[in-house]
């Protein structure tokens, strides 16, 4: 109950945000003019007729960054509870555990670096 009360405001703010974003659109819907031109609703593509739609396959070769991110972000979250209970002075064991944890995390970057994720090959030779 206590924890739910804490998030009461968060819930109310989220709902109000939704209402707030809908209201100007409703006002604009009532005020704004409407055109029925033939070309008004065509997708914008620098003035030419759009060439097919956007949902095609193309190379995004930085998707590997997203893979590292998933491995990384989940692990960084574990540092938050550590940060909360980290004591000042004495008890060096906490510090050693922190070093081990961070070093293991950093291995992900070292591995990706070694694999050549961070070097982008030129696709067009100049």
């Amino acid at each position: 109950m206590q924890t739910l009360q804490e998030f009461f405001h968060v819930a109310v703010f989220a709902v109000v945000a939704v209402i707030f974003t809908v209201s100007p659109i409703v006002i604009a819907y009532l005020l704004a003019p409407r055109t029925a031109g033939k070309k008004t609703f065509v997708t914008y593509e620098c003035g030419i007729e759009p060439f097919g739609n956007a949902w095609i396959r193309y190379s995004v070769h930085y998707y590997i960054y997203a893979l590292i991110f998933i491995a990384f972000d989940v692990d960084v979250l574990y540092l938050f509870p550590i940060a909360l209970s980290y004591t000042k002075g004495g008890n060096a064991f906490e510090f050693y555990s922190l070093i081990v944890f961070v070093l293991i995390l950093a291995l992900a970057i070292v591995y990706a670096w070694g694999k050549g994720v961070f070097t982008w090959k030129r696709k067009i030779l100049s």
Partner: protein, 327 residues
Amino acid sequence: MCDTIINIVNIVGKEVVRTVVGLIGVFIVVLGNAIMLTWTERKVAGHIQRRIGPKEVGPFGLLQSFADSVKLLGKELLTPANVEKPLYYLAPTLIFVPVLVTFVVIPFDGFLQVKDINTGILVILAFSSLTVLSILIGGWGSDNKYSLIGAVRSVAQNIAYEIPLLLSLLPIIFMANSFSLRDIAEAQRGVWFVVYQPIAFLIFFVASVAETNRTPFDLPEAESELVAGFHTEYSGMRFSLFFLAEYTNMFIVSAIAVTFFLGGYQGPVLPGVVWFFIKTYALVFVLLWFRWTFPRVRFDQLLNFSWKILIPVSFLNLLVTGGILKI
């Protein structure tokens, strides 16, 4: 039985009053901030480029933003024929939810805060990830090549800079042992954390520029190559919602930087709120200044800068902080 009901009514009543007052206050801040910042941005841009900037509407062009917002209200609500309608309609709404929710935990003063949630910074971080989602939804739903490329870039950039952002906030939590933003601001009564953590502050600031998609990291909406990035197909009121969210996000990242590193609402003589706004707008001004000073970076430079420099440095910073705290 009766007592518990009265108790619940009491608690709920208090909370409701708090929420309503908080909402009014937050809306004044959000709208005032957006109206003032659009004017300031154009004025700053003008003076940096040795122009005057807006000057026709009202004294010094102060009413320019009002004129613009009225104009935007009167614009036709265009929905391009090919869009994925549910996603297209959802995106502007979804981008505004995290913006408003973040204001719940920001401490404007010792007691001027909607609610001091004891997991405050986690609430902010959790909700701010929704921004990426809405950018992706908007870009995907538009069925426009520019939008899609902009959205994909934006996601890659945001996830790359989210990690240094988390890692630069962590040393502060190590020192303050609390997630509550008010506790963190209170912990800086003597010395601001920026004195202990200058590197973390720099990393946080760079990462937050990237998170708000501002120049020099504005590749998602690089206007010279991608027209307008993920919001190419949005016009009129829907476009202005994206705009409102962007300007409010600038305020929010600066406010978080102030709370974590620059002593929050602490300061001599003047009341806390005034100090809070002075510090926040000083940082916002730096963001505006960046935009008209730095050229845009290349995309591989952008991603590699985060993974090769910011993340290792912030790891080192974290370890050093952990070590020094134990001495």
